[in-house]
Symmetry: C2
Subunit: 512 residues, 2 copies
């Protein structure tokens, strides 16, 4: 699925080649901070000093968690994943832990009352993406420590970076508070879900649960623990994310009442209609002749243009990140409509899209097989910008298809959520930037991620909280084989596990 992970993925690709001068990370600040004594700073120093001492147990916690993959698409390890999430939260100091039932997989809720003035909400996903062990160089459930040349020692396993690694770093930060006997500067509530990788279809039920909502409502913001660094040390901070509708369009003889109801021999196409041609014709109506611009009537109706401040962020990004390296990175020679770098980035951050993720029909193996398929499927994602909503956009899509004579095509939203937006001038956001700066990195702020995560459940009414995914550290391979998260960094610009933990300690103080 998309979500925080996509979010990270996209940003990661984007800034990998960013000018490193702007975002250099120097000596981990927790080593420096450890020298400071007295008061809150003294507390923080004591907490930070704990981190290296708990290094081994912090690794083991992650390895044990990786060994228990909850995968909603495979109905694997439920409710065990939720129960394990409760156990981890309890060890970190959370109380009042509850399984939150949904129509799908359960969520987990808990509180950590530190007697502080403010409360921060933390969003966790305890599920991971499917994996094919044969494709991995290291067993995906073992979380082995592996040397990566130029990078250092990484932990390799499914969920290592998406999202157990960063989440474990956050739990390790809480463990450091506990071990040092210092109180958290901020109270916490934990909201965890187990369906992020299938598009968080029931996350709304968790957030609106009467055992959850009243505790999240007064929070000062919502943190999604993330590994936001690049291998060159750079950090981009996204003040929101596009929304998404993930859809399957299914054309079938059954629903159409034309064509066959099962795959038949292709020679019969002479006298039997083809659900595949029907799908092709339907798809063809979704974009303009340019093969890109969404052609669904009213699609752009609710698009809120970028503000001047947002445009300025984009232009700063364009000036900082070199176009040529990004083009090379993606294997892209030309942007849409042959636009220049600035125009294309303004488009990226401001425009909604209709994309074909996948096409599946009939025979998909090597060579050919002479069938007239009874069914053809297009996997589509639509990215939404404020003030679009999934509901309105889906309705427009359905109306359009019906109007064009494709009302028989089944339109199923398999996952999705509205766009999310947080004011970069909010105290929450400023605390994020401050915690990065403490660790020596000046982040590059952009209006939103072109990817998606279900943050709108927090940022929209009734909660209307600032929310975002942040944290130091590095990892890659989300959804892919050999997913990994950096433990011991050989690169002074990039934080390993201890630095990632330190960034959460810094953040908790900064946000308090």
């Amino acid at each position: 699925m998309s979500d925080s992970n996509d979010n990270a993925w996209t940003r990661r690709d984007f800034v990998q080649s960013a000018v490193s001068g702007a975002v250099l990370v120097a000596t981990p600040s927790f080593l420096r901070a450890a020298g400071v004594g007295g008061g809150a700073d003294g507390d923080k120093a004591a907490v930070l000093a704990q981190i290296p001492k708990q290094h081994a147990e912090n690794i083991k916690r992650l390895q044990d968690w990786i060994a228990l993959p909850s995968i909603a698409a495979e109905n694997r390890n439920y409710p065990q994943g939720a129960e394990y999430m409760m156990k981890l939260a309890a060890e970190a100091g959370f109380t009042d832990l509850k399984i939150i039932p949904t129509s799908g997989k359960p969520g987990v809720f808990g509180r950590l009352d530190a007697g502080a003035k403010h409360t921060l909400a933390v969003y966790f996903m305890y599920d991971v993406k499917q994996f094919v062990p044969e494709e991995w160089s290291s067993p995906p459930l073992e979380g082995r420590l592996v040397e990566k040349p130029g990078l250092g020692t990484v932990i390799m396993g499914r969920g290592a970076v998406n999202q157990k690694g960063p989440e474990n770093a956050f739990l390790a930060a809480l463990a450091a508070f506990k071990a040092s006997g210092k109180k958290l500067p901020v109270n916490l509530v934990l909201v965890a879900e187990g369906e992020e990788e299938i598009g968080s279809p029931h996350f709304g039920e968790i957030v609106s649960n009467p055992d959850v909502l009243p505790y999240v409502k007064p929070c000062i913001g919502v943190l999604l623990p993330n590994a936001s660094q690049e291998q060159d040390g750079s950090v981009t901070v996204e003040a929101g994310a596009k929304g998404i509708c993930e859809i399957e369009l299914v054309s079938s003889g059954e629903k159409w009442g034309r064509g066959p109801k099962k795959d038949i021999h292709s020679s019969l196409e002479a006298q039997v209609d083809s659900p595949s041609w029907h799908l092709v014709q339907a798809l063809n109506t979704l974009v303009e002749k340019d093969g890109h611009t969404p052609a669904v009537p009213g699609f752009f109706e609710k698009v809120r243009p970028l503000s001047d401040a947002q445009k300025k962020m984009v232009l700063e990004f364009a000036a900082t990140v070199p176009e040529a390296t990004i083009k090379t990175k993606y294997g892209v020679e030309r942007w849409v409509k042959d636009e220049d770098w600035q125009t294309s980035l303004l488009r990226l951050y401001s425009q909604p899209t209709i994309n074909i993720e996948g096409l599946v029909g009939g025979y998909t193996g090597p060579g050919g097989k002479t069938v007239l398929p009874h069914r053809a499927v297009a996997k589509i994602d639509m990215r939404l910008v404020p003030d679009m909503t999934t509901e309105d956009t889906m309705e427009k899509l359905r109306n359009h298809l019906a109007h064009q004579g494709f009302g028989d095509i089944e339109v199923t939203m398999t996952g999705g959520y509205n766009p999310t937006q947080t004011d970069p001038d909010s105290p929450f956001f400023k605390a994020v930037v401050a915690s990065f700066s403490r660790l020596g990195a000046k982040p590059l702020v952009v209006p939103r991620s072109p990817g998606s995560w279900p943050g709108y459940r927090f940022t929209d009414a009734p909660l209307s909280l600032p929310a975002g995914g942040f944290g130091m550290g590095y990892g890659t391979g989300a959804h892919a084989p050999d997913e990994h998260f950096l433990i011991e960094s050989k690169n002074p610009k990039v934080q390993g596990l201890d630095g990632a933990i330190a960034s959460f300690v810094e953040f908790l103080y900064a946000v308090a």
Copy 2:
């Protein structure tokens, strides 16, 4: 692939529900014929009488052959398959056996000089379709004997009906001649290929080989041993077959020079072109607005209309085979353009097609995955009628795509051949009908198969021979799991192995 097998497949579907009165098969004629003495009829009786005696060894020959699958798509068992084909042919009495090298997999050629006046060519394929053992109820390479309720004992294995079963029945007919000490009434040449299942891409090299062509040229016709019966005993005889182009259309960022050169995150579709949309737009130009009629300019230019005699065949077929049962069989509620049964059958037998066999792009698994695929593929087959050719049709397709702005889309013909046509009034064809009649079945002749086989290599210049796939017996599951061929029939209307062998003995006498 298509070919003889498709041919059988299509016809099989079509006539399964044919009025059985027209095509009833009574007591196997070889039992009756065995009572006749003296002369050619006495010889035939002696040969037919051998068949039941060799029953066990005829089954074993097929089982041993099934155990050695040659699969060109997997480069499996070459040259072993060709060597085994030589061994089988040698045992059946062929001499001068030769491996015929090609740019692909080798063919096999041999002669059987019986001192007869005429020579018949026999076309064999020694390769089989890929298979997935897990999908089978019986190990696909064991050729186990399995009871099928209502049908009898079948041999189950890959190639059982497509095409080793019928070919083995033909070899068994030769073994019956040998065992009875009777001379064949006709000389034989064997032309075998090992790439039928990938579209016979090098079969032309085999036929035109100087070690082959001079021997095939004087033949009276070409037989493809087939199991032409249905479970209800009916038989359709096709006086030809449509040609085919199997094609892959590949749209990719690499070739296009737009879009990505590898799969990237779908959020980037905002600024990067999509090879999938490009493919959809290209496909959309291939058919008219009706979603069916080929829209490639000049596509119908060379289509030869059905003759009055051919139309008469179709109308007889329409009058014999009930529309409702065929619609149920296919799961079809309406024919193209809501035509009636006769009109739709005239379309089926006379019109060329462009069909989508498969669509493959990006993420094809369960649920969604937010990628912008760098590549999307449409698997297309075009069925050709006389006087269309693969070469001319491919050129028209390529020109059309280039003209419409899709010249970057790679167009690969993965297999294919021209249409094939034989005069149903030819002596060869009359011998086929006679041999069926001897076994109590009155076949229904149709202008051509809407499916395809590479018979044009024989029926077109320079050979210009009559050619077709025929033989009694029953089998099903070509290309599918649990492929099987009937050995002991419980249904008096359907021939088992011995009856299939007898039909080839009858045919050899009839064609001589």
